[in-house]
């Protein structure tokens, strides 16, 4: 299987990230974002599986002048599949979703997900009205993905086929209240954390 290295993909998307707001789905996607550099404007999830895309939608609607990127896994996206239809209703131009698709539940013993049996997430997003939706299989396509995330008209969806390797853990802070406060303070300014 020709597939990409998930850590390299995420590092490429998050380097020189400027004001990019990031939501990271639980499990490997959150570790990948942390490996690229823990950041106050990344909100990594440790639970609430299936919620990442909807958190991205709420954030994108609240901050229409900022770019919002959801980085998540195929299992997490499958649990919130309806949220693609919901995003398709409001179609925020500043929202992108990158699904790192290894076709496995990586945290629970590498069981196959539905994408291993053929579910085409990019086709689902396209059918839900995303402005652009693509399956990415080559490193040479990542520069264009990055450019779209930072400048393209959303909502955008990229299903990136990645290798099924188990990488060293890179854990973000676990305290949810801390993650929330630091995000709001970095985005909204001092004193915003508690308002």
């Amino acid at each position: 299987m020709k597939a990409l290295n998930r850590r390299e993909v995420v590092a490429s998307l998050l380097e020189r990230r400027d004001g990019l707001l990031v939501v990271a789905g639980l499990g490997s996607a959150a570790w990948d974002c942390t490996a690229a550099g823990d950041h106050p404007l990344t909100f990594p999830l440790w639970g609430a599986m299936g919620s990442a895309a909807m958190i991205g939608l709420g954030l994108a609607l609240a901050q229409p002048k900022r770019r919002v990127l959801v980085v998540t896994g195929d299992g997490e996206m499958l649990m919130g599949l309806g949220s693609l239809a919901t995003i398709g209703v409001r179609r925020p131009g500043n929202l992108s979703i990158v699904v790192l698709d290894n076709e496995r539940y990586g945290e629970t013993g590498m069981q196959k997900t539905h994408t291993a049996y053929g579910t085409d997430l990019a086709a689902v997003a396209s059918a839900c009205g995303f402005a652009d939706s693509r399956t990415i299989r080559r490193n040479t396509e990542i520069a264009a993905v990055r450019s779209s995330i930072y400048r393209g008209r959303g909502p955008l969806f990229f299903q990136v086929k990645v290798k099924r390797d188990s990488l060293p853990l890179a854990l973000p802070p676990r305290d949810g209240a801390h993650l929330k406060h630091r995000f709001r303070e970095a985005l909204l300014g001092k004193g915003a954390a508690a308002q």
């Binding site: 909807m54 901050q63 949220s83």
Partner: protein, 184 residues
């Protein structure tokens, strides 16, 4: 609205959905998500017509918990409208409120209470207060139209000023019982 219940005595009917809408406005709620319920019909229409509110129809109620968390991260306040049957769909997503302390304002129209004619609504409806309590959500009750403004404002303050998860349970007695009779 003014209606006559008898030929001699006109009574003022309180527009309780409008009172809730006004409470949401005054509490600066900007994102309103919902899975529809007949009991929320008018409030949903009022929110759609409000240019200061973004309405987000959901495929399932738990989506609204994520949406509210994202809105708060971005500096906006959200409210989530649902029928009592949707509370059961929310359980794991309530983790966001419990572990991160995200404000959460749920407005729940009750089914399965006194007079319910669909027995399938009863198990979830009856479990709602306990299910919410177990999920870390405080509950307030709205049973009478004249209390709608005060109770909705209180619920919003609990959510956003105390940064808590709160559900306002709107009694079936206030909404009316679904008749299952053909409309004429």
């Amino acid at each position: 609205m003014r209606e006559r219940t008898s030929k001699t005595r006109p009574v003022e009917v309180i527009d309780w959905p409008a009172a809730i809408h006004n409470a949401l406005k005054s509490q600066r709620v900007r994102q309103v998500s919902y899975v529809p319920d007949a009991g929320h019909k008018r409030l949903i229409e009022l929110c759609h017509a409000d240019r200061n509110m973004t309405t987000v129809p959901l495929t399932t109620e738990e989506e609204g918990i994520g949406l509210a968390a994202g809105a708060w991260l971005g500096g906006e306040r959200a409210a989530l409208l649902m029928q009592s049957s949707g509370v059961g769909n929310c359980v794991n997503a309530l983790t966001l409120a419990a572990t991160c302390g995200f404000p959460l304002l749920m407005l729940v129209t009750m089914r399965g209470e006194a007079g319910e004619r669909n027995p399938w609504q009863v198990p979830m409806g009856q479990a709602v207060p306990e299910a919410l309590r177990l999920g870390g959500v405080r509950t307030l009750r709205l049973g009478r139209a004249e209390e709608a403004s005060a109770v909705a404002n209180t619920a919003a303050k609990v959510a956003f000023e105390e940064q808590s998860a709160v559900a306002l349970l709107i009694s079936q007695q206030l909404i009316g019982v679904k008749s299952f009779e053909e409309k004429r």
